[in-house]
Amino acid sequence: MAFLEIDGLRKRFGQVEILKGIDVELEKGGFLVLVGPSGCGKSTLLNTIAGLETITSGEIRVDGRTINDLHPSKRDIAMVFQSYALYPNMTVAGNISFGMEMRGVPAAERQKAIDKVAKVLQIGHLLQRKPSQLSGGQRQRVAMGRALVRDPKLFLFDEPLSNLDAKLRVDMRIEIKRLHATTGTTIVYVTHDQIEAMTLATKIAVMRDGEVQQFGTPAEIYNNPSNLFVADFMGSPAMNLIPATIGTNGNALSVVLQREAREPINLPMANAPAGLSAFQGKPIIFGVRPEALTDPEGAERNASNIATADCHIEVVEPAGSDTFAVTNLGGKGVVARLRADANIQPGSNTPLAFNLTKAVFFDPATETRIR
């Protein structure tokens, strides 16, 4: 039995259904990230777990106990809010111990707990300050301290890093990951940033319009997207999704990509997914991640199915660690990721290696994966 179980959760505001039957579960000590574009219902889902929103139907269980109708304070959870939500009239110590004060914990015990958390988060020198005297990163730490001090069964994070600047965000991301590793707590984390999702999660639920599009480990989500939305949403730069048709090349199937003012590229598929044969002569969406489309020297040596084709390079973007080249295939800009020192000129025709082992195919009509 999983530690956190959500069964058939539905949430309705009047006529509008915000959550349309969510089924998710998480093992003890796991890190579940709810990711999706704004308005997909991920924050609402988190609020229903916290008890800040009621649910219309379904069940939420933590450690075998149904918590659907319990008051937020009785659910044994702690929450870190997007805006930190520190009480401005209290000191850092007051903020951290407010929950204990409400539960009637004696002052001496409260002090002990505060000191312990302050040590873990290295905020001991800030305890007597007011939130207005803290920097963004310090406020973030205090907000986490307020959650940590409760020692709850479940931690809920609602986009905790979205108010920090880029560098601090990376630091705090690592800190959260370290905290999770050392304390072994169970965490549910909401974000719209797919990099946070990939780096932090043990399980990811990609959401759209109140439905879970795919639920799995980060590797599953990244390498095996179940539909076009997940493929497009996860990964940066995003996966190239190229309109193509399925043709034949000898006995094997092949992917035919249209090019501007030149004959189409015909990529032979050595081990095409079984479902693809039904699409012969029909349009499909050909998905290939930028790192699977590279210069022939930089291509993976042991990949079993690599096809090379000449492409017209329109734009070159040196990014330091890599060089990104943009070409045009099937009427869309397609990004290839090359080695940093790749010698490539905009306007030239350069051979690019397609790693077809990593390629995925989608039905343009249903947007589902062709397997």
Partner: protein, 314 residues
């Protein structure tokens, strides 16, 4: 852009036009300020003059021999109606009426604002709309219905007095006025607090809920301590309005011992016996105006304090 256009404008002789504009603007402002302050100035200087000087001198002239006697007389000796014990008793009447009325109406407004924004219920907008409507009902139109209600409350008070032994203040003119001002003030105080709490981060309330705080604990520990600016605004507004009210005061406590300051001042000025003591009248009027000024001076500095700084965001 501005860096480019400013020198160009100066070069075309714009400086003199700009200066002229300034002169006109400040000249007008000074004129209006003068108009506005003139009556206060006359009141102030007159209250320090002797009657001889008033009768023979210029109204705008400064007092030749400043004297505190008119103030002392206004405070302790002047005649209000038929009793000649000064206005001090009525001053305290007003204080006894204003302080509870201001505090009760402000606290109720804060509670209303808290519920209307953080514990929204079906029809909350309608309720707020109706309360707003209450702000625009003219005082005169509620005079008679309110008199009827106060009469009923008074009779209920007598019944209580006879059966329980205490009327709980029902029927007492001061209590009546507090009641009227609280009822009439709730619309405004709710409006103030609702608009303030509308912008108050709801996540603080949610965090407090997760921390296990109850409805009133959240109100007392989270909302109220962070409401100082609007609290001060509301107190100043309510204090000024209730202290200066004449209509309700004269209608429901126009005679007798509970008469508030404003009615008493009117009776001082309207006394028909003997010479009209302008200096005493002016001093009494100044005394009547002082508390509202004092409240503003004491509380005004909280207006500008940004107490919410640091609550949310980085």
């Amino acid at each position: 852009m501005s860096a480019v256009t400013t020198p160009a404008r100066q070069a075309s002789g714009g400086v003199s036009v700009k200066t002229l504009n300034r002169i006109v603007i400040y000249g007008l402002l000074a004129l209006f300020a003068l108009f506005y302050l003139m009556p206060l100035f006359v009141m102030l200087v007159t209250s320090f003059k002797t009657m001889d000087e008033i009768q023979n001198g210029n109204m705008l002239a400064l007092p030749k021999a400043p004297t505190f006697d008119p103030w002392l007389k206004a405070w302790g000796e002047t005649c209000v109606g038929l009793t000649c014990a000064g206005i001090k008793g009525y001053f305290w009447n007003s204080i006894k009426m204003v302080v509870p009325a201001v505090l009760i109406s402000t606290m109720l407004g804060a509670l209303n604002g808290y519920v209307l924004t953080k514990w929204r219920f079906r029809g909350a907008t309608l309720v707020f709309g109706l309360m707003l409507f209450a702000c625009f009902i003219p005082f005169q139109s509620v005079l008679l219905p309110m008199a009827t209600i106060l009469g009923s409350l008074g009779r209920f008070g007598v019944t209580l007095q006879n059966s329980v032994g205490t009327s709980f203040g029902l029927g007492n003119p001061t209590v009546n006025l507090v009641f009227v001002h609280v009822v009439y003030g709730i619309g405004f105080t709710t409006l103030f607090f609702r608009n303030y709490y509308e912008a108050f981060p709801t996540e603080l309330v949610k965090a407090a809920q997760v921390d296990g705080a109850s409805f009133f604990q959240i109100f007392r520990r989270i909302m109220l301590p962070n409401s100082m600016p609007i609290f001060v605004v509301t107190v100043i507004y309510q204090f000024t309005n209730i202290w200066n009210d004449f209509l309700f005061a004269s209608a429901y406590a126009g005679t007798g011992d509970a008469m508030p300051m404003t009615v008493a001042l009117n009776n001082v000025v309207n006394t028909s016996t003997g010479v009209v003591e302008y200096n005493v009248n002016m001093a009494a009027a100044m005394i009547a105006a002082l508390p509202t000024l004092l409240v503003y001076v004491l509380a005004g500095r909280y207006f500008v304090r940004g107490l919410m700084a640091g609550a949310v965001k980085g």
